[in-house]
Amino acid sequence: MGFEQIIFWLLAVGTIATSALVVLPPGGRNPLYGALLLIVSFFFISGLYVLLFAHTMAILQILVYAGAIMVLFTFVIMLLNLSKKELGDETKTLAKGLGIVAVVALGTKLVVMLQGQTLNLQAKPLPEGFGGVDAIADLLFHNYLVPFELTGLLLLVAVIGAIVLAKRTL
């Protein structure tokens, strides 16, 4: 196994383990542990992005996800400072159990399917500057200019909506 492949498996196992702990008891019982584990998981995922030659997206993942979104989560969790009672009991219903079994079965099935198959896509060699800021900016400001501007509008609407929702009186 080559060096890159060893790094890949370390990152993959780390990503899945930390994400699973967000959902399983340590994170599921206490959201603050969940948020911190999720930050670690985002760092692992950004390592996977680097292996995919998506350097800009790896940096954006850390800046936006770990830096902005998860800080917002941590702020809200600490602001609420929930007790055991306020978090609510985890009810165990039949529908919920069936749903989890179905999801896990589907995931296992897909993983087994992908393992047994060689996807014959004939990978193309990467063009010069693949994954760099230049290439992404070129696409964003030429091919995707309107969606890009709409994203800005979406963020503005989200900010105004969040203020309206969270404020007691305007």
Binding site: G28, I45, V64, Y65, F73, L82, T91, N143
Partner: protein, 122 residues
């Protein structure tokens, strides 16, 4: 035999037996992506705590981003990166609105248990 036909035949033969371009195959990334998506959706289904459910949604979005970037590398095409960029922007908006809703509901009900948010039921 025409020379260009022979050339084409050797090109086809070499393309089917050529060494892979990347040392890490596409499937491995897709396996990680599927596993992450399963973990995220299990969290959405199992947990009744609104904050953990929102975090599980983030895990699912990340799984999809990983798949997009894996296919972007496979085709040598940057459009997947742009989609990932938009997904990150939408995730930021979703987190802001979702957390504002959680705050508002907590102020109203003194609980963030999703099972108790049934005011619109029946």
């Amino acid at each position: 035999m025409l020379p260009f036909l022979a050339e084409a035949a050797t090109a086809v033969a070499s393309s089917t037996t050529s060494t892979p371009v990347h040392s890490i195959p596409l499937q491995w990334f897709l396996i990680v992506s599927v596993a992450l998506f399963a973990v995220g959706s299990a969290g959405v289904l199992a947990r009744r705590n609104a904050l953990t459910v929102l975090m599980s949604v983030e895990i699912m979005l990340n799984a999809v981003n990983l798949a997009f970037l894996a296919f972007a590398r496979e085709w040598g095409n940057m459009h997947g990166h742009v989609v990932t960029f938009f997904v990150i922007a939408v995730a930021a908006a979703e987190a802001a609105i979702g957390l504002a809703l959680v705050l508002g509901i907590f102020r109203h009900k003194k609980s963030i248990n999703l099972d108790e948010m049934n005011a619109l039921k029946n």
